[in-house]
């Protein structure tokens, strides 16, 4: 008996791709705004429900809603940044208060989403809880469409981010605001706008991940909540200081959680699957104990740069 099948690896890759889209945003926001953003949970769920609305109200293909989710969730994050975080930052509030502000934003959206999901159910008469859309997916070479779409979305996001940040003037300004806000301001960079752009991008990517979520597993008003620990794990395992580490972190976590649990379930027993949510936590604890800077922060990479 094989310990795991090819489809398990495919599932793990989809999970890794979605996690990468979420985790890279957590890292980006940590680098620019210096705040671990708990509202990322709400970005994912809002993205999912925006896409669901498009599917149910306009009979869209599940994949068409991705850009709409990107823009609307990006807009949501701008609201959070300019209405709540900017006033707090101007008063030099501590990181703890910024963190609780993002958590409060997430809780507010838990309410908004709950009310919205109920209303959608009332008016459109469609199920809005535990939504599974994988039956609407196409199949290519024996693998579900989400496999190709999620991985290409992540690759596109990674390449686009790389070029936008490393190769454009905007990217230089963005990196300057990350490194030293005061210095960046003194040479005429509008750092507030730069931060706003980073929030829009980070949240948009999380929104796309949310839009793809019901194609892979299921969508709930608490989906983001369930995934938030995994998002931070991806970010920490990859290294909070390096943007691209999140992609490596996502692959490691995806494989560890899906393939690792399947292998263990086959070896030790099925009861292991009940403890699956513990995997991100263990991984995060191990990385923090051994090398808090994560994979991206390891000295090995510096040699390549030279």
């Amino acid at each position: 008996m094989a310990l795991f099948e090819a489809i398990t690896v495919a599932q793990a890759m989809i999970y890794a791709a979605l996690l990468a889209l979420m985790g890279v945003g957590v890292t980006l926001l940590y680098k620019t705004t210096k705040v671990p953003n708990f509202a990322h949970a709400s970005f994912v769920t809002v993205g999912g429900y925006v896409n669901l609305t498009m599917i149910d109200a306009f009979r869209w293909n599940p994949y068409w809603g991705m850009p709409v989710s990107f823009v609307i969730v990006g807009g949501e994050s701008l609201l959070l940044f300019f209405l709540v975080l900017e006033p707090l930052r101007k008063r030099k509030s501590s990181v703890a208060l910024l963190m609780i502000a993002t958590l409060a934003w997430h809780i507010t959206f838990l309410g908004i989403l709950g009310a919205y999901a109920d209303s959608l159910q009332t008016f459109l008469r469609v199920p809005t809880r535990n939504v599974v859309l994988s039956y609407r997916d196409f199949t290519l070479a024996g693998l579900p469409g989400i496999f190709y779409i999620s991985i290409s979305a992540t690759v596109v996001a990674a390449v686009a981010l790389y070029f936008a940040i490393e190769r454009t003037t905007l990217g230089i300004a963005l990196r300057a605001s990350m490194e030293n806000q005061n210095l960046a301001e003194s040479i005429g960079i509008n750092t507030t706008r730069m931060l706003g752009i980073s929030w829009f991008l980070a949240a948009g990517l999380a929104g796309v991940a949310g839009a793809l979520l019901p194609m892979w597993s299921l969508l709930n008003t608490s989906s983001g909540d369930t995934l938030i620990a995994a998002m931070f794990c991806v970010s920490i395992v990859g290294g909070l200081e390096t943007l691209y580490g999140a992609f490596a972190g996502a692959v490691i976590l995806g494989l560890a959680q899906i393939v690792g649990t399947t292998v263990l379930a086959n070896v030790v027993g099925v009861w292991v699957t009940g403890y699956e949510p513990v995997v991100p936590l263990l991984l995060m604890s191990i990385v923090l104990l051994i090398n808090p800077k994560g994979i991206g922060g390891m000295k090995v990479w510096k040699r390549f740069k030279k």
Partner: protein, 346 residues
């Protein structure tokens, strides 16, 4: 006594009981967050730890104290039978009821201390935001264990626990509320005491200026760990009291109810202020009951479940407090030690 009056009494008793339980938990959060500046986003970890300890041990300890013959019954499948057998003893033996209560509190405290150490270990030496993320990630993990490992508290359906106030009969809720209030007062006075010790002053020095505290030779990770342990013990005791008061336990302790709401209460009252913690807890429950009262008037008018208004309103309230009154209702004041107070009078 007419029915209305009786209703008001029952309402007040329950309100005070919940204020007392939450005050114990909130004092645990205040020593960590308000006084030491540890970003404790995983308060629910120790609360659920204490709650599950109470759930796991209450019937077992009862069987041991009253020397009940289990007759080979399992504590999960025979939960109701054994618990009601323990209840028949607590009905007539108040002192043993108290002994059971104290033993459970002690066990929950020990478990809370261990959980506090475990959850902070990976990130205690790192910056406070790393610690915050780790603690948040630990938060709801015990629910996973409570659900998957059925011998603990019977999985998702949960189990019932013996009533340690059964001896009071019809006045059970009076006895329970009074006991809880006494315990909450003890937690309050304990934190007030800690604040006046050198340890408490070190905690606040770390919060106000890490570098200055370090240059005076204070061991930052160690002091943070001490604050986390003290706080987790109190939070776990709060969780155990909640279970004993409610009479049952399920693996459903959420980040919202046991981390976010306590944060909200502290912010409302004033971070770091001990009186503020009390005032914040009491104010929050009053507001909450008002919302609850008016909320159901909207049921049926709105196309959604009014439960969602809770989340919406509380989230907005926190953001408004943070932006417009971050110091809370009763801001923290510098503590006056005995000598200072005397010299200012002269």
């Amino acid at each position: 006594m007419n029915a209305l009056f009786e209703g008001i009494i029952l309402f007040a008793l329950e309100l005070f009981a919940y204020i007392a339980i939450y005050l114990v938990v909130n004092e645990g959060l205040n020593i960590q967050l308000g006084i030491t500046g540890v970003t404790q986003f995983g308060l629910v970890f120790s609360v659920s730890g204490g709650a599950f300890t109470a759930g796991y041990l209450a019937t077992r300890l009862g069987v041991w104290i009253f020397r009940i013959n289990t007759g080979g019954l399992d504590f999960i499948s025979g939960n109701i039978v054994l618990t009601s057998e323990v209840d028949t003893f607590t009905q007539s033996q108040p002192l043993n009821g108290f002994a059971l209560l104290l033993l459970i509190i002690f066990a929950a405290g020990v478990v809370g201390a261990v959980l506090g150490i475990i959850s902070s270990l990976p990130a205690i030496n790192l910056r406070s935001d790393y610690l915050g993320i780790t603690l948040l990630a630990f938060g709801e993990i015990l629910n996973t264990f409570g659900t998957a490992y059925t011998p603990l508290i019977g999985g998702p359906p949960g189990i019932i626990v013996p009533d340690v106030w059964a001896w009071a009969g019809a006045n059970r809720f009076v006895a329970a509320t009074l006991t809880l209030m006494v315990l909450a007062a003890m937690a309050y006075l304990y934190i007030e005491y800690v604040l006046r010790t050198p340890l408490g002053r070190t905690f606040r020095a770390i919060r106000d200026n890490e570098i200055a505290a370090q240059s005076l030779g204070k061991n930052l990770p160690r002091c943070r760990l001490e604050a986390i342990v003290i706080g987790s013990v109190l939070a776990a005791i709060g969780g155990a009291l909640f279970v004993l008061y409610a009479g049952s336990v399920t693996p459903s302790f959420t980040r919202y109810t046991w981390t976010f709401i306590p944060w909200l209460m502290l912010l409302l009252g004033g971070l770091g202020s001990n009186v503020g913690t009390l005032v914040g807890t009491a104010t929050w429950f009053t507001i909450y009951d008002l919302i609850l009262y008016y909320k159901y008037a909207l049921q049926g008018v709105l196309p959604f479940d009014v439960v969602w208004l809770n989340y919406l309103l509380l989230g907005i309230i926190v953001m408004l407090i943070l932006i417009f009154r971050p110091q809370g209702i009763i801001p923290e004041k510098p503590l006056r030690t005995g000598r200072e107070a005397k010299s200012s009078k002269q």
